[in-house]
């Protein structure tokens, strides 16, 4: 190899790496801005924290209108109770602001497994933005994964997050699902025992109690909302469901800042509002948000 072509190749490789790095950094800025818009990482009075059930059940704009308070909706598919504590802390670190109240969905299945096992991946885009997220990802991801996400910013995004970026730029938080619950199919699944089971996981319970203590200490009001599930699912394991709900009520009785809202009973038998046994359709979102709007009352500022 003569030195001239060798130097030229090195220069070309460096130029390629430079373009790669610049595009990564620019795209990260652009994408993170859109993602923060979608997850409403801005100062607001009410923060909605949850997974896909909240994402599809609560209309941010309507809740803002009905409650008379600014609302931020930070919901991600597949987030379990430990993830949500990270989300609350991330919101506070990212905005430098404490919300007056948090709306947090809870139900008998909140303490079960079955949500995303690698839910730390949901936080990759914010890996460098919050100490809580950085620690959570470092503790949960493999060494290889952690460093890859750190070195190549674009690898932090997946299709769901890209979709969220687009919706963030469009300020679109609406439930856009066009699916409809197939009750006969679900009955068959129930008969086969193929549904999300109720379990009380001690580790998850401990994090839930930590969340309650954290919010009380931070003087943040907490509305625990039991969002609707289809009654067939609710009645699939009645004893276990009752035990889980009793645990929730017992845990919150020790915290004066917590209010429990049962949005399940009023809607559980209205199958026309669901896309599947757990998630609401746009009409369901509208009705449940209206219901919640009348329940969420915050003390007026002096």
């Amino acid at each position: 190899m003569s030195s001239t072509p060798k130097t030229s190749l090195i220069k070309k490789c460096l130029a390629g790496l430079l373009v790669f790095a610049i595009v990564n950094i620019l795209c990260l800025k652009l994408f993170n801005h859109g993602l923060k818009q979608y997850y409403c990482l801005w100062p607001a009075d009410i923060l909605v924290i949850g997974h896909s059930m909240s994402e599809m059940a609560i209309d941010r704009d309507l809740l803002e209108e009905l409650s008379g308070h600014s609302v931020a909706k930070y919901c991600m598919n597949g987030t379990s109770i430990p993830d949500r504590l990270v989300m609350i802390r991330h919101y506070i670190e990212s905005t430098g602001h404490k919300p007056k109240a948090i709306l947090y969905d809870i139900g008998p299945r909140s303490f079960s497994g079955g949500l995303a096992v690698n839910s730390h991946a949901l936080f990759y885009p914010f890996i460098n933005e919050s100490p809580t997220v950085a620690k959570y990802v470092r503790d949960s991801a493999s060494f290889k994964e952690y460093w890859l996400k750190n070195l190549i910013p674009l690898s932090r995004y997946d299709d769901s997050r890209i979709g969220a970026v687009i919706r963030g730029y469009r300020h679109d938080w609406k439930n856009r699902s066009v699916k409809q619950l197939n009750i006969e199919l679900f009955k068959r699944q129930l008969a086969k025992g193929s549904f999300w089971k109720v379990q009380l996981n001690p580790g998850t319970q401990a994090v839930f109690e930590e969340t309650l203590e954290f919010l009380e200490k931070e003087d943040i009001r907490l509305f625990l909302v039991h969002l609707p599930n289809v009654d067939l699912l609710n009645n699939a394991e009645p004893e276990k469901s009752a035990a889980a709900l009793n645990y929730i009520k017992d845990a919150i009785s020790r915290h004066p800042n917590v209010t429990f809202i049962d949005a399940n009973s009023a809607f559980e038998s209205r199958y026309e509002l669901f896309i599947d046994p757990l998630h609401l359709n746009p009409k369901g979102q509208l009705e449940v948000t209206k219901y919640l709007g009348g329940k969420i009352i915050l003390p007026q500022q002096p």
Binding site: C13, C27, D159
Partner: protein, 454 residues
């Protein structure tokens, strides 16, 4: 260790650096050791099979026992790849005739790349027997020819006259080879991880339950599979060729824009070129090729296509896939002769669409697990034309379409001779950097390459 695994790239870089540092006489040994380590990473037990195949072909070529090499190699394939296919087919036949059948189904693991390294080493024995090449007296060098890690798992199937001299020379890669290698690896990863693997989930769902999918969804899934298998295999071949270039080795090109083909014979000049040319040189021509009577020529054509189907897998669906290609290939030659392209762009475009439609239909048999399922899919496409669904999410579908447009956009530019000479360095560097960005953003983790199972 798959080409898409980051560990592979650590392995490749370590091997390339060691290769560059070692004196020439040790470079072959390094590549041989690396190749056996690479192959053992799939399943160490198969290294014995690889070694056996190497020894069989080396000594059979040395002592001119071509028939023995062919028999033993085909026996190896028959045991590991085709035993259960023929065994199960005979059982079905016996059961339908209400006759007893006592040979049970055996759980035989299919060694990765068996069809590729068997054909490559067999080609060497035949070339030696024909006097086309001199026999190789250096066993380690021949072992490297059989096991060279970039190509062992899924080709391209190399030829002894091209590869053995390169291994003998063991020269360092030129700057141009390194540059080409980097570009091929990036483009191969894009094809595999961004196009092929992203399309897989849509295709798998549609093919798993065609009864619940609309005809539109199944049609889209079938087109996606045509693209997936191309991107998967072409991506693999490009990474293989790119990796080999870091050791100064040029492997043959396996694809030449197959979906721009204007007829089935044209398609087969562009698709899996190393296998097609292998069948041409070692089967079609020995059978008499086209210098025989018409009925014999038809027989030769059909034999080649049916065996090509069987080579891909031990299932009647693969044989039927080969038969479809064989029949359309014959029809084209009988109706239009060897004339391929027209001067009119519109006529060529129409031919291209018709060829793709035939190839796409044949791929349905290739992809479907059973013949019955393939027929079910085709029937639903025709009888239940409905809007296709987007699959998991609209955004995923949209990103998949963007990935496909990038794939064919780049292919189209290359096809129309927008080659290195005409493409300024700045554009090419930026282009590859952007493709690397798309890999970072859109790649999904893959567990296999489609052609590894063959």
């Amino acid at each position: 260790m798959l080409f898409t695994d980051i560990n592979y790239f650590f392995f490749l870089i370590a091997c390339a650096l060691a290769y560059a540092c070692l004196p020439q006489k040790f470079r072959g040994w390094l590549l041989l050791a690396a190749s056996y380590v690479f192959y053992a990473a799939f399943d160490w037990r198969f290294t014995f099979l690889l070694l056996a195949q190497t020894l069989i072909c080396f000594f059979c070529a040395k002592y001119r026992k071509t028939a023995l090499a062919v028999t033993l190699s085909l026996l190896e394939l028959a045991v590991f790849k085709y035993f259960n296919f023929f065994n199960d087919s005979f059982r079905q036949l016996f059961e339908s005739l209400r006759l007893p059948y006592l040979i049970p189904h055996l759980d035989i693991l299919l060694p990765v790349g068996i069809s590729f390294f068997t054909f490559q080493s067999l080609g060497y024995v035949i070339d030696v027997s024909r006097g086309k090449i001199q026999q190789e007296n250096n066993l380690p060098r021949f072992a490297l020819f059989t096991a060279f890690f970039p190509q062992i798992a899924a080709g391209p199937i190399g030829r002894a006259d091209e590869l053995l001299p390169q291994f003998k020379e063991s020269k360092l890669p030129s700057v141009q080879q390194i540059s080409d290698g980097i570009q091929l690896v990036i483009w191969g990863l894009f094809q595999k991880m961004v196009v092929a693997d992203r399309l897989a989930s849509y295709i798998n769902r549609a093919y798993a339950s065609p009864k619940t999918a609309t005809g539109g969804t199944l049609l889209v899934a079938s087109i996606f599979f045509s693209i997936q298998i191309y991107a998967d295999f072409s991506g693999y071949s490009d990474i293989a060729r790119g990796s080999a270039k870091f050791f100064g080795i040029d492997l043959r090109n396996n694809f030449n824009f197959p979906y721009f083909a204007t007829s089935i014979p044209d398609f087969w000049k562009r698709w899996h070129i190393s296998l097609t040319s292998w069948f041409r040189d070692y089967l079609y021509i020995p059978l008499g090729g086209n210098r025989v009577s018409k009925p014999k020529w038809i027989r030769n054509q059909l034999v080649v296509f049916l065996l090509s189907g069987l080579w891909h897998g031990a299932n009647w669906t693969f044989i039927f896939w080969g038969a479809i290609h064989g029949v359309f290939n014959l029809m084209h030659v009988l109706l239009f002769g060897k004339k391929n392209e027209s001067k009119s762009r519109i006529v060529n475009l129409l031919r291209c669409i018709v060829t793709f439609a035939i190839v796409n239909t044949a791929w349905i048999f290739f992809r479907a697990p059973t013949f019955k399922r393939a027929i079910q899919i085709i029937t639903r496409i025709v009888t239940h034309p409905g809007r296709p669904t987007f699959g998991v999410a609209q955004v995923t579908f949209a990103l998949n379409v963007i990935a496909i447009l990038v794939l064919f956009g780049v292919d189209f530019a290359a096809y129309n001779s927008f080659t290195k000479e005409r493409c300024p360095d700045a554009v090419r560097i930026t282009g590859y950097a952007l493709i690397a960005c798309l890999i970072a953003l859109l790649a999904v983790s893959s567990r296999s390459f489609i052609y590894l199972q063959f």
